[in-house]
Amino acid sequence: MTTKTDTLIPAADITDNQSVAVILEGKNILICRTNGEYYAVDNQCTHQRASLTEGRIRNCFLSCPLHGVRFDLRTGKPIGELTKVPLKTYGIIVSDDGNLHIELD
């Protein structure tokens, strides 16, 4: 079942190549913006569970601050040898009132 979480944060609060970590229903989720688009992923690297909050974002890719694993924000897929496990991604939309909404499974 899909739950819509209302009124998360205003979309305008996140600028390009920035991220904001939120806790939703006990899940630590990183909301990222790149090239004007918003993405939401689990805020935990699949290599060693490091927080991705300080990870650099460029062109749809988020780099883990610990060992530099890069994840494609669109699919969650990692690049390189350190992990083959993708990041969990969540659907995210900007509603008419300008707030972000996430789809939690």
């Binding site: 650099r56 460029r58 062109n59 780099s63 601050p65 060992h67 530099g68 690049i79 390189g80 040898e81």
Partner: protein, 460 residues
């Protein structure tokens, strides 16, 4: 400038008919001196042993005496725009971290942890420091050792130089080069006369509009050689003969490390006697993949104009519009001909005002029977606007056709035709009873030049 300037056809040693230098005489704009260079010293006609392409022993010699000594192109500066961005350059069994350490500073480190030897970085990316994923030895971006966990267990390292070993780095035209040999000649000397010849094409200001890679089942030299002569156009790319002066091409060598082929475009092949100017114009626009437009629709040639002039003027107008600069001083030759340089050993770059093709062939790891072929297309963007981000590399699977990479447009089908030879050349050489290849004296002289320079390194 060379003493050989304006040497025209050289008797029976060249194809009958118009030469590239004759075509330059027809230019209305002052011809820059680099196009007037015409240097092709005789290098011999002996057969060349196929062992150079197929034997493990030759590959091992290259491993010891060639790759550790030559300047080699690793990536574009734009691929690592920010401090901490890095590219992993791999050649045979060597691995290098090419990283930006300052706005105008790039360093290249041996990609091996000084603790247990693990690769420090597995792939391209961005880090604030290099942390070995095995035990956590750490270096800052400048290669200075920051420490290892359980320092109490490593007092024996206190007196050792723990900075990351580096290799030489140089840049030209927006490309980053490395050289493993600390006693090598400077990059500037190695490149000569490339920078001078590319003065009208500031490649450092171009951006990478496409980047495609695929493994090809042939030795890296077989791959490179597929692009070093226009002789093969007749049989391999016969559909482009209506606008390609294949046998009119000029081939030049400049010192040990640079060679060039110039294939006139917008004229029909001397092999095809009855092509009309209108057919040449239509086909070059439709099939070349390098002109300002890829459709001949709506193009009517005014009476009395040649296809060569019409297409050059079309390119001049459309390229000027794209780059926001006047191209009034560009010759027809520069606007449409295939002017392709090779930088020894494995990098090839086309001149041009928009859409410059780059090729690179590297051994596929330690396998001498396959190689990694990469092509990039360097593009211009309007002056004063933000430089577009470089294209991400599109890695095709070995079973995919180059025409499955839409970003290289009309080049894809041409590469597929070349690809149909490359693996077959490797297999044919392995099967050869003759055990040697025979090269054309002139049209394949750049291949002989490549091998003579390889010999200079192997025998040094």
């Amino acid at each position: 400038m060379s003493d050989l300037i304006k040497v025209k056809q050289q008797g029976e040693a060249r194809c009958e008919g118009i030469s590239y230098q004759d075509l330059l005489d027809d230019e209305k704009i002052e011809v820059p001196s680099y196009l007037r260079e015409n240097t092709n010293p005789y290098m011999g006609n002996e057969d060349i042993d196929v062992a150079r392409w197929i034997s493990r022993d030759f590959h091992e010699q290259e491993k010891i005496k060639l790759w550790p000594k030559v300047w080699q192109m690793t990536c574009r500066e734009e691929d690592i725009p920010e401090v901490g961005d890095h590219h992993i350059y791999e050649v045979v069994d060597q691995s290098i971290i090419v990283t930006r350490t300052g706005e105008n500073q790039i360093k290249a480190y041996i990609n091996s942890c000084l603790h247990r030897g693990r690769l420090l970085r597995d792939c391209d990316g961005h880090v604030k420091e290099f942390v070995c994923p095995f035990h956590g030895s750490t270096w800052d971006i400048n290669g200075q050792f920051k420490g290892i966990p359980c320092k109490w267990d490593f007092s024996h390292l206190d007196q050792k130089d723990m900075s990351l070993p580096q290799v030489k780095v140089g840049t030209w035209g927006g490309f980053i080069f490395i050289n493993f040999d600390e006693n090598s000649i400077p990059l500037e000397e190695y490149l000569s006369p490339l920078p001078e010849h590319f003065a009208r094409f500031p490649l450092h200001d171009y951006y990478k509009g496409a980047h495609v890679q695929r493994v090809v089942q042939c030795n890296w030299k077989v791959g490179a050689e597929a692009f070093m002569e226009s002789f093969h156009t007749l049989e391999t790319h016969s559909e482009i003969l209506t606008f390609t002066g294949d046998a009119n091409s000029q081939y030049d060598t400049f010192g040990d490390h640079v060679s060039r082929s110039v294939t006139p475009m917008g004229i029909a092949s001397p092999h095809l006697p009855n092509v009309t100017e209108a057919e040449t114009m239509r086909d070059i626009l439709e099939l070349s993949g390098r002109m300002a437009t890829d459709s001949a629709e709506g193009h009517e040639m005014p009476e009395g104009l040649t296809a060569r002039t019409y297409v050059a003027e079309t390119n001049r107008e459309m390229f000027s519009e794209i780059i926001g600069e006047s191209l009034d001083d560009a010759t027809k030759s520069e606007l449409e001909d295939a002017i392709l340089y090779m930088l020894f050993p494995n990098t090839q770059v086309w001149t041009g005002y928009h859409g410059n093709i780059v090729y690179r062939f590297l051994p596929n790891g330690d396998d001498h029977n396959s190689c990694v072929f990469e092509t990039m297309i360097l593009m211009r963007y309007p002056k004063g606007t933000k430089r577009p981000d470089p294209a991400k590399k599109n890695i095709l699977r070995p079973d995919q056709a180059f025409s499955e990479a839409p970003e290289i447009g009309g080049l894809g089908p041409v590469f597929d035709q070349d690809d149909s030879n490359m693996a077959a050349v490797q297999k044919g050489m392995l099967a050869s009873k003759k055990g040697a290849v025979s090269l054309a004296s002139y049209q394949e002289s750049r291949i002989r030049h490549l091998h003579q320079t390889i010999d200079k390194y192997l025998k040094a």
